[in-house]
Symmetry: C2
């Protein structure tokens, strides 16, 4: 159910002492091949952490033999020293597991602007290399947690091959206070081009549509590594579907574990003139603090939904907008529809459906409510 579900991968997770808590904070994932093909998607934030800059270069060649990940420090906004530290992590990992440093991706997560305790990181890499195991995937998933309340893993098997993965984070490809890191593995014998297209397609409609708090990290990374150990060459469509399924599973786990949230909100936009319009409207609704507060208070405040739609440039007629909350069409034709009392919001999951009545395209954005606990967690974090 994790990065070691596919054949050909070893993983480990150890306590390097980066976190003061003594919780596990360093993980390795090693691809034993025979293939080393890989693809990656990174944050679109222009302020990018040193490990992201490093890993982008590694992925440019489409080959990854190992990934070293740490929690407890983001190594972002750390200048030249940070770049040196990210490179050192790759080099020490390469030495420890016997691969080239330019085939080692690096992922970090934690507070921005603070350097890593490199003596501990280096020692931790050696320890983690000694702990590598074909069932070490869960340990790795545990070691990359920051404010995650649970570790997140998923896997699916198809025609003789498997895709598995792990994630950390509480948000989106632009997540909350901490980064979203995802490592996916497969034993399918997939080409770099197939890995790349499957990964980009899956990310676009899963992690990219999770919008916990509208903020975007400097460290977000999603990697897909193929060992080819199954000897099976996957059919492209089936492979893309499998990667999508694992990404969707992990994305839903991120939303379910969002910091301080009490509701999981699914914003479904239908009747859009284009998929782009559907995404723009969904994101605007999902980012509306007032609506997120109202849903926290179990108030089906459709006026705030309309107000959020109205800030976009999507195709719609304000007098022909319909909105349902948990299946009750509380707004019809831009005005009050069924009685709002009929919408019951006491459960953890809330569906907000917007019908733009301007076409046939649709999109789903997942978000959370805004709570006093969110404020508390995020105002107390760096102290």
């Amino acid at each position: 159910m994790t990065v070691t579900a596919a054949q050909g991968f070893l993983a480990s997770g150890v306590t390097a002492g980066i976190k003061e808590s003594g919780d596990p904070d360093l993980a390795l994932v090693v691809n034993r091949g025979p293939s080393r093909a890989a693809a990656g998607v990174f944050t679109s934030n222009r302020v990018q952490a040193a490990p992201v800059r490093w890993s982008r270069r590694v992925l440019a060649d489409g080959r990854v033999s190992a990934v070293v990940l740490n929690s407890g420090g983001a190594n972002a906004c750390t200048g030249e020293a940070g770049a040196y530290d990210a490179r050192t992590m790759a080099e020490r990992t390469a030495d420890a597991v016997g691969v080239d440093a330019d085939e080692v991706a690096v992922c970090s997560t934690g507070l921005i602007g603070v350097g890593l305790p490199m003596d501990r990181v280096v020692a931790g890499i050696a320890t983690a290399a000694g702990a590598l195991s074909s069932d070490g995937g869960t340990d790795a998933a545990v070691a990359i947690r920051t404010t995650d309340s649970v570790h997140k893993t998923a896997a699916v098997s198809r025609s003789g091959w498997t895709v598995g993965g792990m994630a950390k984070g509480a948000g989106m490809l632009a997540p909350g206070l901490a980064t979203m890191l995802v490592v996916l593995t497969t034993d399918a014998d997939a080409s770099g081009a197939l890995l790349d297209s499957a990964l980009r397609s899956a990310v676009r409609t899963t992690f990219d549509r999770v919008d916990s708090d509208g903020c975007m990290s400097t460290n977000d990374t999603v990697l897909l590594l193929a060992s080819g150990a199954s000897g099976e060459v996957p059919e492209a469509g089936e492979f893309a579907e499998a990667v999508h399924a694992v990404c969707l599973d992990l994305a839903r786990q991120l939303v379910a574990d969002a910091e301080g949230a009490s509701k999981e909100i699914e914003v479904v936009v239908v009747g859009a003139a284009s998929e782009r319009d559907a995404v723009v409207v969904g994101r605007s609704v999902a980012r509306n603090n007032l609506l997120k507060c109202a849903l926290h208070g179990e108030d089906p405040n459709w006026g705030r939904v309309l107000s959020a739609i109205g800030t976009t440039d999507a195709v719609f007629d304000p007098d022909r907008l319909d909105v349902a909350i948990n299946g009750v069409w509380v707004c019809r034709d831009g005005a009050a529809g069924e009685p709002r009392e009929k919408a019951v919001l006491s459960g953890r999951r809330i569906a907000v459906t917007v019908d733009l009545r301007s076409g046939d395209e649709s999109a789903v954005i997942w978000t959370n409510d805004l709570t006093a606990e969110y404020v508390h967690e995020n105002s107390a974090y760096s102290s």
Copy 2:
């Protein structure tokens, strides 16, 4: 100090019974002339309340003889019935004060999606017309409050003429849960063209740069009425400056009274390649929930500032960004600068300065922190 500071204006504020609380909820402002020139700026939200649609048409002719305003209901997303009600408010006001209905602007604020109790509104208009007075400006300012903890007024006098005004709201030209309504008056003999240019210029750099929670109302309206009663034709530059001063004063009062806020945050962006870049960066920083939580917790978390800058398309080099918090340059060259402990955030006002080091343009955006009280107020509002 309010809409009756300028000669030629009468105002009143009464309890019509729209609010269940029994607080004042209906106001009139009447221009006795001789001029009736006017200008208006409205929400850019495409979902616009019935009174906004009505008042836009009134202002198209550049003539306003009276403004009727109510709190206790936004008359937004109310369909044809709402349009009829807005028109009725204008007609009844016109009858009561002896002007044409197509010279009566209408402003409403309160919950979206609920119709107004028109019997009470109509009776209130008659009561308010009977209470009109040349010192009724404060009563009017009190009657337009919703969640405002104080009423907001301002005035300046220049070369023989005065500009005064009142405001309600706790946000921006895209304010918080409730709308921003502003009525400005002047006894200068200003042309419609001068009123329009002075108002647009002032709004652009005051109300438009207040961004309390990133949300945008369906009802925002800013009106400027000239009576010409002073007999003085103002010098254009001096007039624009005076309108700007009153708008800035009112805008700062909105920020100071933002719902549930404990900090007033000034985001100053300097070194921008264009004013547009400065505004885009300032708004991105001001809307970052994570930063707003951090500042609430008095944590000078400059990493979240950089993360917000990085989401924009402004001209900058990530490795040459400087950030000061309350005057302490905690980030230099995109990395840690002076010790964060030196930034003291215990006061109510916090200044975040971003130097993009890419040009000479600048902008200021005003916002607030994100607090548990904000969540509480906005999750409990419509119940």
